[in-house]
Protein backbone atom coordinates (compact mmCIF):
# COMPACT_ATOMS: atom_id res chain seq x y z
CA UNK A 1 0.00 0.00 0.00
CA UNK A 2 1.35 3.38 -0.92
CA UNK A 3 1.06 5.97 1.76
CA UNK A 4 0.49 9.59 0.94
CA UNK A 5 3.99 10.30 2.13
CA UNK A 6 5.44 7.86 -0.41
CA UNK A 7 3.76 9.65 -3.27
CA UNK A 8 5.59 12.86 -2.60
CA UNK A 9 8.86 13.66 -4.33
CA UNK A 10 11.41 16.38 -3.79
CA UNK A 11 12.31 18.28 -6.93
CA UNK A 12 14.98 20.93 -7.31
CA UNK A 13 14.51 23.66 -9.91
CA UNK A 14 17.75 25.55 -10.27
CA UNK A 15 20.23 26.97 -9.56
CA UNK A 16 21.15 26.16 -13.18
CA UNK A 17 17.86 25.92 -15.00
CA UNK A 18 16.59 27.82 -18.04
CA UNK A 19 13.41 28.71 -16.21
CA UNK A 20 15.12 30.35 -13.26
CA UNK A 21 15.84 34.03 -13.64
CA UNK A 22 19.42 33.91 -12.38
CA UNK A 23 21.19 31.90 -9.73
CA UNK A 24 18.58 30.70 -7.30
CA UNK A 25 16.88 27.42 -6.56
CA UNK A 26 13.34 26.47 -5.68
CA UNK A 27 13.09 23.24 -3.72
CA UNK A 28 9.70 21.70 -4.37
CA UNK A 29 7.82 18.94 -2.64
CA UNK A 30 5.52 17.56 -5.33
CA UNK A 31 2.71 15.05 -5.46
CA UNK A 32 2.19 13.98 -9.04
CA UNK A 33 2.42 17.24 -11.02
CA UNK A 34 1.23 19.39 -8.16
CA UNK A 35 3.42 21.44 -5.87
CA UNK A 36 2.75 20.72 -2.19
CA UNK A 37 5.45 22.91 -0.67
CA UNK A 38 8.06 25.31 -2.02
CA UNK A 39 11.24 26.73 -0.48
CA UNK A 40 13.43 29.34 -2.11
CA UNK A 41 17.15 28.74 -1.68
CA UNK A 42 19.59 31.52 -2.40
CA UNK A 43 23.31 31.98 -1.77
CA UNK A 44 24.71 31.16 -5.19
CA UNK A 45 25.97 34.63 -6.06
CA UNK A 46 26.41 36.55 -2.85
CA UNK A 47 29.09 39.15 -3.52
CA UNK A 48 29.05 41.03 -0.22
CA UNK A 49 28.39 44.33 -1.97
CA UNK A 50 26.90 45.95 1.13
CA UNK A 51 29.96 44.95 3.14
CA UNK A 52 32.38 46.18 0.46
CA UNK A 53 30.55 49.49 0.18
CA UNK A 54 31.32 50.16 3.85
CA UNK A 55 35.00 50.10 2.88
CA UNK A 56 34.65 52.60 0.01
CA UNK A 57 33.93 56.28 -0.12
CA UNK A 58 30.52 57.67 -0.98
CA UNK A 59 31.22 57.92 -4.70
CA UNK A 60 33.19 54.69 -5.16
CA UNK A 61 30.08 52.82 -4.00
CA UNK A 62 28.43 53.45 -7.37
CA UNK A 63 30.59 50.85 -9.14
CA UNK A 64 29.05 48.20 -6.87
CA UNK A 65 25.53 49.59 -6.52
CA UNK A 66 24.53 49.21 -10.13
CA UNK A 67 25.42 45.51 -9.94
CA UNK A 68 22.71 44.89 -7.34
CA UNK A 69 20.37 44.12 -10.24
CA UNK A 70 21.66 43.25 -13.69
CA UNK A 71 18.46 43.71 -15.73
CA UNK A 72 17.73 47.16 -14.29
CA UNK A 73 20.72 48.83 -12.60
CA UNK A 74 19.69 52.48 -12.86
CA UNK A 75 17.14 52.61 -10.01
CA UNK A 76 19.92 51.45 -7.68
CA UNK A 77 22.08 54.45 -8.59
CA UNK A 78 19.10 56.77 -8.44
CA UNK A 79 17.83 55.60 -5.06
CA UNK A 80 21.24 55.64 -3.41
CA UNK A 81 22.03 59.07 -4.88
CA UNK A 82 18.73 60.39 -3.51
CA UNK A 83 19.50 58.92 -0.08
CA UNK A 84 22.92 60.58 -0.04
CA UNK A 85 21.34 63.87 -1.12
CA UNK A 86 18.73 63.54 1.63
CA UNK A 87 21.40 63.07 4.30
CA UNK A 88 23.51 65.96 3.00
CA UNK A 89 20.62 68.25 2.02
CA UNK A 90 22.08 68.66 -1.47
CA UNK A 91 19.82 70.16 -4.12
CA UNK A 92 19.51 68.65 -7.59
CA UNK A 93 19.15 71.04 -10.56
CA UNK A 94 15.81 70.77 -12.43
CA UNK A 95 17.53 69.68 -15.64
CA UNK A 96 19.17 66.78 -13.82
CA UNK A 97 15.79 65.73 -12.40
CA UNK A 98 14.36 65.49 -15.93
CA UNK A 99 17.40 63.62 -17.26
CA UNK A 100 17.17 61.19 -14.31
CA UNK A 101 13.49 60.62 -15.11
CA UNK A 102 14.30 59.79 -18.73
CA UNK A 103 17.10 57.41 -17.71
CA UNK A 104 14.86 55.68 -15.16
CA UNK A 105 12.08 55.22 -17.72
CA UNK A 106 14.43 53.99 -20.45
CA UNK A 107 15.73 51.49 -17.89
CA UNK A 108 12.16 50.39 -17.23
CA UNK A 109 11.43 49.87 -20.92
CA UNK A 110 14.56 47.83 -21.60
CA UNK A 111 13.87 45.73 -18.52
CA UNK A 112 10.27 45.14 -19.60
CA UNK A 113 11.58 44.02 -22.99
CA UNK A 114 13.77 41.45 -21.24
CA UNK A 115 10.76 40.36 -19.20
CA UNK A 116 8.76 39.71 -22.42
CA UNK A 117 11.45 37.23 -23.40
CA UNK A 118 11.51 35.50 -20.01
CA UNK A 119 7.74 35.34 -19.60
CA UNK A 120 7.08 34.12 -23.14
CA UNK A 121 10.06 31.74 -23.06
CA UNK A 122 8.86 30.07 -19.86
CA UNK A 123 5.62 29.30 -21.71
CA UNK A 124 7.59 27.80 -24.61
CA UNK A 125 7.11 30.83 -26.91
CA UNK A 126 10.66 31.67 -27.91
CA UNK A 127 10.21 33.98 -30.89
CA UNK A 128 9.03 36.98 -28.90
CA UNK A 129 12.14 37.04 -26.71
CA UNK A 130 14.35 37.23 -29.79
CA UNK A 131 12.39 40.21 -31.09
CA UNK A 132 12.33 42.10 -27.82
CA UNK A 133 15.96 41.47 -26.88
CA UNK A 134 16.93 42.62 -30.38
CA UNK A 135 14.88 45.81 -30.02
CA UNK A 136 16.24 46.36 -26.51
CA UNK A 137 19.60 47.01 -28.13
CA UNK A 138 18.30 50.31 -29.50
CA UNK A 139 17.83 51.47 -25.92
CA UNK A 140 21.25 50.18 -24.92
CA UNK A 141 22.63 52.25 -27.84
CA UNK A 142 20.99 55.31 -26.28
CA UNK A 143 22.59 54.48 -22.93
CA UNK A 144 25.96 54.04 -24.58
CA UNK A 145 25.66 57.43 -26.28
CA UNK A 146 24.63 59.08 -23.02
CA UNK A 147 26.80 57.35 -20.43
CA UNK A 148 29.52 55.48 -22.29
CA UNK A 149 28.22 52.10 -21.11
CA UNK A 150 25.43 49.80 -22.21
CA UNK A 151 24.45 48.00 -18.98
CA UNK A 152 26.12 49.47 -15.89
CA UNK A 153 26.04 53.21 -16.32
CA UNK A 154 27.20 54.85 -13.08
CA UNK A 155 25.63 57.95 -14.58
CA UNK A 156 23.35 59.21 -11.81
CA UNK A 157 25.49 60.70 -9.08
CA UNK A 158 24.74 62.72 -5.94
CA UNK A 159 23.93 66.23 -7.08
CA UNK A 160 22.66 65.32 -10.54
CA UNK A 161 24.02 63.33 -13.46
CA UNK A 162 27.56 62.85 -14.69
CA UNK A 163 27.20 64.60 -18.05
CA UNK A 164 24.69 66.50 -20.13
CA UNK A 165 22.65 65.08 -23.01
CA UNK A 166 24.86 64.72 -26.11
CA UNK A 167 23.93 66.70 -29.22
CA UNK A 168 21.18 64.95 -31.18
CA UNK A 169 20.46 62.45 -28.38
CA UNK A 170 16.94 63.73 -27.73
CA UNK A 171 15.98 63.33 -31.41
CA UNK A 172 17.45 59.86 -31.57
CA UNK A 173 15.50 58.93 -28.42
CA UNK A 174 12.26 60.16 -29.97
CA UNK A 175 12.90 58.05 -33.07
CA UNK A 176 13.61 54.95 -30.95
CA UNK A 177 10.38 55.52 -29.00
CA UNK A 178 8.37 55.87 -32.23
CA UNK A 179 9.85 52.60 -33.46
CA UNK A 180 9.19 50.77 -30.19
CA UNK A 181 5.63 52.02 -29.99
CA UNK A 182 4.87 50.43 -33.36
CA UNK A 183 6.63 47.23 -32.33
CA UNK A 184 4.51 46.92 -29.18
CA UNK A 185 1.51 45.96 -31.30
CA UNK A 186 3.54 43.14 -32.85
CA UNK A 187 4.73 41.92 -29.44
CA UNK A 188 1.25 41.98 -28.02
CA UNK A 189 -0.28 40.14 -30.95
CA UNK A 190 2.34 37.44 -30.52
CA UNK A 191 1.89 37.12 -26.76
CA UNK A 192 -1.53 38.26 -25.63
CA UNK A 193 -3.44 36.96 -28.67
CA UNK A 194 -1.74 33.59 -28.31
CA UNK A 195 -4.09 30.89 -27.00
CA UNK A 196 -1.21 29.06 -25.33
CA UNK A 197 -0.25 32.11 -23.30
CA UNK A 198 -3.86 32.92 -22.45
CA UNK A 199 -4.52 29.41 -21.17
CA UNK A 200 -1.22 29.24 -19.28
CA UNK A 201 -1.47 32.69 -17.67
CA UNK A 202 -5.10 33.03 -16.66
CA UNK A 203 -5.96 31.87 -13.16
CA UNK A 204 -2.37 30.84 -12.39
CA UNK A 205 -0.15 32.06 -9.54
CA UNK A 206 -2.85 34.12 -7.85
CA UNK A 207 -1.91 36.60 -5.14
CA UNK A 208 -4.95 37.29 -2.93
CA UNK A 209 -5.90 40.96 -2.97
CA UNK A 210 -6.59 41.15 0.75
CA UNK A 211 -3.13 39.79 1.59
CA UNK A 212 -1.01 41.61 -0.98
CA UNK A 213 0.05 44.61 1.11
CA UNK A 214 0.65 42.54 4.20
CA UNK A 215 2.81 40.12 2.19
CA UNK A 216 5.03 42.99 1.04
CA UNK A 217 3.88 42.84 -2.59
CA UNK A 218 4.70 45.92 -4.70
CA UNK A 219 5.04 46.93 -8.35
CA UNK A 220 3.26 45.05 -11.18
CA UNK A 221 2.20 42.15 -8.89
CA UNK A 222 0.41 44.67 -6.63
CA UNK A 223 -1.16 46.52 -9.57
CA UNK A 224 -2.23 43.10 -10.86
CA UNK A 225 -4.43 42.59 -7.79
CA UNK A 226 -6.11 45.94 -8.32
CA UNK A 227 -4.07 48.16 -5.99
CA UNK A 228 -2.46 51.04 -7.86
CA UNK A 229 0.36 51.95 -5.48
CA UNK A 230 3.37 53.33 -7.34
CA UNK A 231 6.11 55.39 -5.69
CA UNK A 232 6.28 57.66 -8.73
CA UNK A 233 2.71 58.77 -7.91
CA UNK A 234 2.48 58.31 -4.16
CA UNK A 235 5.79 60.00 -3.28
CA UNK A 236 6.87 61.68 -6.53
CA UNK A 237 10.62 62.11 -7.05
CA UNK A 238 12.73 63.44 -9.95
CA UNK A 239 10.32 65.12 -12.39
CA UNK A 240 7.42 62.66 -11.99
CA UNK A 241 5.30 65.17 -10.10
CA UNK A 242 5.32 67.49 -13.16
CA UNK A 243 4.47 64.83 -15.75
CA UNK A 244 1.17 63.29 -16.73
CA UNK A 245 0.92 59.50 -16.67
CA UNK A 246 -1.39 56.73 -15.49
CA UNK A 247 -0.82 53.70 -13.32
CA UNK A 248 -2.23 50.59 -15.03
CA UNK A 249 -4.28 48.45 -12.69
CA UNK A 250 -5.90 45.07 -13.36
CA UNK A 251 -7.91 42.69 -11.20
CA UNK A 252 -7.30 38.98 -10.79
CA UNK A 253 -3.87 38.78 -9.20
CA UNK A 254 -2.76 36.08 -11.65
CA UNK A 255 0.10 35.88 -14.15
CA UNK A 256 -2.21 37.26 -16.84
CA UNK A 257 -3.03 40.41 -14.83
CA UNK A 258 0.64 41.03 -14.07
CA UNK A 259 1.47 40.65 -17.77
CA UNK A 260 -1.24 43.14 -18.75
CA UNK A 261 0.14 45.63 -16.22
CA UNK A 262 3.63 45.35 -17.70
CA UNK A 263 2.26 45.67 -21.24
CA UNK A 264 0.61 48.97 -20.32
CA UNK A 265 3.57 50.18 -18.25
CA UNK A 266 5.75 50.33 -21.37
CA UNK A 267 3.26 52.67 -23.04
CA UNK A 268 3.25 54.89 -19.97
CA UNK A 269 7.06 54.97 -19.90
CA UNK A 270 7.12 56.09 -23.54
CA UNK A 271 4.58 58.79 -22.66
CA UNK A 272 6.70 59.97 -19.71
CA UNK A 273 9.93 60.17 -21.71
CA UNK A 274 8.30 62.16 -24.52
CA UNK A 275 6.93 64.68 -22.04
CA UNK A 276 10.27 64.93 -20.21
CA UNK A 277 12.09 65.60 -23.49
CA UNK A 278 9.55 68.26 -24.45
CA UNK A 279 9.68 70.00 -21.07
CA UNK A 280 13.44 69.62 -20.51
CA UNK A 281 14.61 72.73 -18.64
CA UNK A 282 17.91 74.43 -19.39
CA UNK A 283 20.64 75.13 -16.88
CA UNK A 284 23.14 73.02 -15.04
CA UNK A 285 22.90 69.24 -14.89
CA UNK A 286 25.13 68.75 -11.85
CA UNK A 287 25.43 70.40 -8.46
CA UNK A 288 29.09 69.54 -8.06
CA UNK A 289 30.19 67.67 -4.95
CA UNK A 290 33.52 68.42 -3.23
CA UNK A 291 36.65 66.32 -3.85
CA UNK A 292 35.16 62.80 -3.58
CA UNK A 293 38.27 61.43 -1.83
CA UNK A 294 37.73 63.89 1.04
CA UNK A 295 33.96 64.20 0.89
CA UNK A 296 32.32 63.66 4.29
CA UNK A 297 28.58 63.52 4.79
CA UNK A 298 27.06 64.78 8.03
CA UNK A 299 26.01 62.06 10.47
CA UNK A 300 22.46 60.98 9.74
CA UNK A 301 20.23 58.44 8.08
CA UNK A 302 17.84 58.22 5.15
CA UNK A 303 15.19 55.82 3.91
CA UNK A 304 14.42 56.46 0.25
CA UNK A 305 12.20 54.50 -2.13
CA UNK A 306 12.01 54.31 -5.93
CA UNK A 307 9.73 52.40 -8.31
CA UNK A 308 11.55 49.77 -10.35
CA UNK A 309 10.01 47.35 -12.84
CA UNK A 310 9.89 44.68 -10.14
CA UNK A 311 8.31 46.97 -7.56
CA UNK A 312 9.54 49.23 -4.83
CA UNK A 313 13.22 49.33 -4.06
CA UNK A 314 14.49 51.23 -1.07
CA UNK A 315 17.83 52.11 0.42
CA UNK A 316 18.42 52.56 4.13
CA UNK A 317 21.65 54.57 4.31
CA UNK A 318 23.46 55.60 7.49
CA UNK A 319 26.31 58.10 7.71
CA UNK A 320 28.52 58.38 10.79
CA UNK A 321 30.05 61.66 9.60
CA UNK A 322 33.06 60.09 7.85
CA UNK A 323 33.99 59.75 4.20
CA UNK A 324 32.56 56.21 4.03
CA UNK A 325 29.00 54.94 4.57
CA UNK A 326 28.35 53.24 7.90
CA UNK A 327 25.57 51.14 6.37
CA UNK A 328 23.93 50.82 2.96
CA UNK A 329 21.08 48.34 2.96
CA UNK A 330 18.92 47.56 -0.05
CA UNK A 331 15.29 46.53 0.13
CA UNK A 332 14.58 44.99 -3.25
CA UNK A 333 11.14 44.03 -4.48
CA UNK A 334 12.51 40.57 -5.27
CA UNK A 335 13.37 40.07 -1.60
CA UNK A 336 9.71 39.53 -0.83
CA UNK A 337 8.41 38.41 -4.25
CA UNK A 338 11.05 35.75 -4.83
CA UNK A 339 11.04 34.27 -1.34
CA UNK A 340 8.04 34.63 0.97
CA UNK A 341 5.42 35.45 -1.70
CA UNK A 342 6.62 32.72 -4.06
CA UNK A 343 6.61 30.15 -1.24
CA UNK A 344 3.01 31.12 -0.40
CA UNK A 345 1.53 31.00 -3.90
CA UNK A 346 3.28 27.93 -5.36
CA UNK A 347 1.49 25.19 -3.35
CA UNK A 348 -1.33 23.81 -5.47
CA UNK A 349 0.26 24.90 -8.75
CA UNK A 350 1.51 22.64 -11.53
CA UNK A 351 5.28 21.96 -11.73
CA UNK A 352 5.34 23.32 -15.29
CA UNK A 353 4.05 26.67 -14.04
CA UNK A 354 6.74 27.26 -11.43
CA UNK A 355 9.15 29.07 -13.77
CA UNK A 356 6.25 30.84 -15.38
CA UNK A 357 5.02 32.20 -12.04
CA UNK A 358 8.55 33.08 -10.96
CA UNK A 359 9.02 35.19 -14.08
CA UNK A 360 5.73 36.96 -13.51
CA UNK A 361 6.83 38.02 -10.02
CA UNK A 362 10.00 39.60 -11.35
CA UNK A 363 12.31 37.68 -9.02
CA UNK A 364 15.86 38.96 -9.37
CA UNK A 365 18.35 36.87 -7.32
CA UNK A 366 21.17 39.46 -7.18
CA UNK A 367 18.72 41.80 -5.50
CA UNK A 368 17.95 39.20 -2.81
CA UNK A 369 21.54 38.55 -1.80
CA UNK A 370 23.59 41.68 -2.04
Amino acid sequence: MTTKRNKQTTLFIGPQHPGITGNMMVKLLVEGDTVVKAETHIGYLHRAFEKLIEQRNWLQSFTLLCRFCVPEPDPMELTYARAVEAIEGREVPPRAKYIRTIVAELARIQSFLLWYGGQAGSAGLYTLGQWTVGDRNYILDLFEDLTGARIYHMYIWPGGVRRDLPKGWADKTRRVLDYLEKRLDDYNRLLFDNAVFQKRAQGVGIIPKDKALEWGVTGPPLKGVGIGNDVRKTEPYCAYGELDFDIPVYEGGDVWARALVRRDEIKQSIRIIRQALDKMPGGNYYNRIPNPMKWRLPAGEAWVKTESVRGEIGFYVVSDGTEKPRRVHLRGAAYTHGISVLEKILPGQNIADVSFILNSLGACPPEMER
Binding site: I42, G43, H46, A48, E50, K51, L52, E54, Q55, A86, L213, E214, W215, G216, I227, N229, T234, E235, E301, A302, W303, K305, E312, G314, Y316, V318, R326, R327, H329, R331, Y335, T336, I339, S340, V341, K344, E369
Partner: protein
Protein backbone atom coordinates in the same frame (compact mmCIF):
# COMPACT_ATOMS: atom_id res chain seq x y z
CA UNK B 1 -6.39 60.96 6.52
CA UNK B 2 -3.80 60.92 9.29
CA UNK B 3 -0.75 63.12 9.62
CA UNK B 4 2.61 62.52 11.25
CA UNK B 5 1.31 64.55 14.23
CA UNK B 6 -1.74 62.27 14.58
CA UNK B 7 0.45 59.18 14.55
CA UNK B 8 2.89 60.58 17.11
CA UNK B 9 -0.01 61.65 19.35
CA UNK B 10 -1.63 58.21 19.12
CA UNK B 11 1.65 56.49 19.94
CA UNK B 12 2.61 58.74 22.85
CA UNK B 13 -0.87 58.34 24.36
CA UNK B 14 -0.38 54.57 24.41
CA UNK B 15 3.35 54.11 24.96
CA UNK B 16 6.12 55.89 26.79
CA UNK B 17 8.43 56.56 23.84
CA UNK B 18 10.64 59.05 22.05
CA UNK B 19 9.34 60.11 18.60
CA UNK B 20 10.42 62.73 16.07
CA UNK B 21 9.85 63.52 12.40
CA UNK B 22 12.83 62.40 10.33
CA UNK B 23 11.77 64.11 7.09
CA UNK B 24 8.57 64.66 5.08
CA UNK B 25 6.21 61.81 5.97
CA UNK B 26 8.70 59.79 7.98
CA UNK B 27 8.47 59.33 11.75
CA UNK B 28 11.36 57.95 13.79
CA UNK B 29 10.83 56.10 17.08
CA UNK B 30 13.65 55.20 19.44
CA UNK B 31 12.52 52.42 21.73
CA UNK B 32 13.69 50.00 24.37
CA UNK B 33 13.89 46.57 22.77
CA UNK B 34 10.99 45.27 24.87
CA UNK B 35 8.72 47.95 23.40
CA UNK B 36 9.41 47.04 19.76
CA UNK B 37 7.01 44.10 19.37
CA UNK B 38 3.99 45.78 21.05
CA UNK B 39 4.60 49.04 19.16
CA UNK B 40 4.91 47.24 15.80
CA UNK B 41 1.70 45.31 16.48
CA UNK B 42 -0.07 48.52 17.48
CA UNK B 43 1.17 50.26 14.34
CA UNK B 44 0.00 47.36 12.17
CA UNK B 45 -3.33 46.51 13.79
CA UNK B 46 -4.51 49.85 15.19
CA UNK B 47 -2.90 52.49 13.00
CA UNK B 48 -2.96 50.75 9.60
CA UNK B 49 0.78 50.36 9.02
CA UNK B 50 0.12 47.11 7.23
CA UNK B 51 3.15 47.08 4.96
CA UNK B 52 6.53 46.05 6.38
CA UNK B 53 8.96 47.86 4.12
CA UNK B 54 12.31 46.85 5.55
CA UNK B 55 14.27 45.51 8.51
CA UNK B 56 17.87 46.57 8.86
CA UNK B 57 20.75 46.40 11.32
CA UNK B 58 23.60 48.83 11.89
CA UNK B 59 26.70 47.70 13.77
CA UNK B 60 27.86 50.46 16.16
CA UNK B 61 31.03 48.63 17.17
CA UNK B 62 32.38 51.57 19.16
CA UNK B 63 29.26 51.64 21.38
CA UNK B 64 29.11 47.83 21.53
CA UNK B 65 25.53 47.76 20.25
CA UNK B 66 23.55 46.70 17.20
CA UNK B 67 20.83 49.09 16.12
CA UNK B 68 17.81 47.34 14.64
CA UNK B 69 15.52 49.33 12.36
CA UNK B 70 12.02 48.19 11.41
CA UNK B 71 10.40 50.30 8.68
CA UNK B 72 6.62 50.13 8.28
CA UNK B 73 4.34 51.95 5.85
CA UNK B 74 0.73 53.14 5.87
CA UNK B 75 -0.34 53.24 2.20
CA UNK B 76 -3.46 55.39 2.60
CA UNK B 77 -1.56 58.56 3.56
CA UNK B 78 1.98 57.54 2.56
CA UNK B 79 3.29 57.63 6.10
CA UNK B 80 6.41 55.75 7.14
CA UNK B 81 7.58 54.89 10.64
CA UNK B 82 11.14 53.85 11.43
CA UNK B 83 11.12 51.85 14.67
CA UNK B 84 14.64 51.74 16.10
CA UNK B 85 16.15 49.96 19.05
CA UNK B 86 19.63 49.16 20.31
CA UNK B 87 20.60 45.70 21.54
CA UNK B 88 23.69 44.42 23.29
CA UNK B 89 26.33 43.41 20.77
CA UNK B 90 27.93 40.75 22.97
CA UNK B 91 24.69 38.81 23.49
CA UNK B 92 22.50 40.00 20.62
CA UNK B 93 18.96 38.81 21.10
CA UNK B 94 15.67 40.14 19.80
CA UNK B 95 12.08 39.04 20.08
CA UNK B 96 10.93 36.66 17.35
CA UNK B 97 8.28 38.48 15.29
CA UNK B 98 7.92 36.04 12.38
CA UNK B 99 4.14 35.84 12.81
CA UNK B 100 3.67 39.60 12.34
CA UNK B 101 4.45 39.64 8.59
CA UNK B 102 5.36 36.66 6.35
CA UNK B 103 8.57 38.26 5.09
CA UNK B 104 9.75 39.03 8.64
CA UNK B 105 10.97 35.42 8.58
CA UNK B 106 13.30 36.22 5.67
CA UNK B 107 14.68 39.31 7.38
CA UNK B 108 15.26 37.45 10.65
CA UNK B 109 17.10 34.65 8.86
CA UNK B 110 19.41 37.19 7.24
CA UNK B 111 20.00 39.10 10.49
CA UNK B 112 20.79 35.87 12.33
CA UNK B 113 23.25 34.78 9.69
CA UNK B 114 24.92 38.07 8.83
CA UNK B 115 25.06 39.69 12.30
CA UNK B 116 24.63 36.71 14.63
CA UNK B 117 21.43 38.03 16.22
CA UNK B 118 19.43 35.37 18.01
CA UNK B 119 15.62 35.24 17.89
CA UNK B 120 14.51 32.79 20.61
CA UNK B 121 11.86 30.40 19.29
CA UNK B 122 12.68 31.15 15.65
CA UNK B 123 12.95 27.75 13.99
CA UNK B 124 13.63 28.62 10.35
CA UNK B 125 16.59 26.78 8.77
CA UNK B 126 19.92 28.22 9.96
CA UNK B 127 21.57 28.48 6.56
CA UNK B 128 20.17 31.21 4.36
CA UNK B 129 22.82 32.73 2.10
CA UNK B 130 26.04 31.32 3.54
CA UNK B 131 26.88 27.62 3.42
CA UNK B 132 29.08 25.81 5.91
CA UNK B 133 30.10 29.14 7.46
CA UNK B 134 32.06 28.81 10.70
CA UNK B 135 33.57 32.30 10.85
CA UNK B 136 32.31 35.43 12.62
CA UNK B 137 29.00 36.69 11.10
CA UNK B 138 30.38 38.59 8.11
CA UNK B 139 28.37 41.82 8.26
CA UNK B 140 29.84 42.69 11.67
CA UNK B 141 32.21 45.64 11.47
CA UNK B 142 35.10 43.69 12.97
CA UNK B 143 34.93 40.97 10.31
CA UNK B 144 38.03 41.61 8.19
CA UNK B 145 37.06 40.95 4.57
CA UNK B 146 40.61 41.26 3.24
CA UNK B 147 42.10 38.89 5.84
CA UNK B 148 39.35 36.35 5.15
CA UNK B 149 40.01 36.46 1.41
CA UNK B 150 43.77 36.15 1.90
CA UNK B 151 43.53 33.05 4.10
CA UNK B 152 40.71 31.43 2.13
CA UNK B 153 41.63 31.91 -1.52
CA UNK B 154 44.89 31.38 -3.37
CA UNK B 155 46.40 33.83 -5.81
CA UNK B 156 46.31 32.91 -9.46
CA UNK B 157 49.81 31.87 -10.56
CA UNK B 158 51.72 34.83 -11.96
CA UNK B 159 49.65 37.36 -9.97
CA UNK B 160 51.22 36.86 -6.52
CA UNK B 161 52.51 40.43 -6.51
CA UNK B 162 48.94 41.76 -7.01
CA UNK B 163 50.23 44.48 -9.31
CA UNK B 164 47.75 46.05 -11.64
CA UNK B 165 48.22 45.06 -15.27
CA UNK B 166 49.33 48.59 -16.12
CA UNK B 167 51.97 48.57 -13.38
CA UNK B 168 53.22 45.13 -14.40
CA UNK B 169 53.70 46.10 -18.04
CA UNK B 170 55.33 49.39 -17.10
CA UNK B 171 57.77 47.79 -14.70
CA UNK B 172 58.65 45.10 -17.20
CA UNK B 173 59.27 47.57 -20.00
CA UNK B 174 60.91 50.18 -17.79
CA UNK B 175 58.46 52.85 -18.93
CA UNK B 176 58.00 55.66 -16.44
CA UNK B 177 54.58 55.93 -14.77
CA UNK B 178 52.95 59.34 -14.53
CA UNK B 179 52.63 60.69 -10.98
CA UNK B 180 48.84 60.43 -10.84
CA UNK B 181 49.05 56.67 -11.41
CA UNK B 182 51.55 56.16 -8.60
CA UNK B 183 49.41 58.16 -6.20
CA UNK B 184 46.59 55.59 -6.23
CA UNK B 185 48.64 52.44 -6.81
CA UNK B 186 48.69 49.73 -4.14
CA UNK B 187 52.48 49.71 -3.55
Amino acid sequence: MMTTRDIIDALTRTFDLNADVLRDNQIRLKLHKKQVAPVLLYLKNQLGFIHLDHVSCVDWLEENVFELVYIVYRPQDRLTVLVKTKIDRQHPEMENMETFWPHMRTYQRELREMFGIDFPGFEAPKEFILEGWDEMPPMRRDFDTRAYVQRTYTTRPGREDAWSVREYITRRTGEKLPDFVKKYSRD
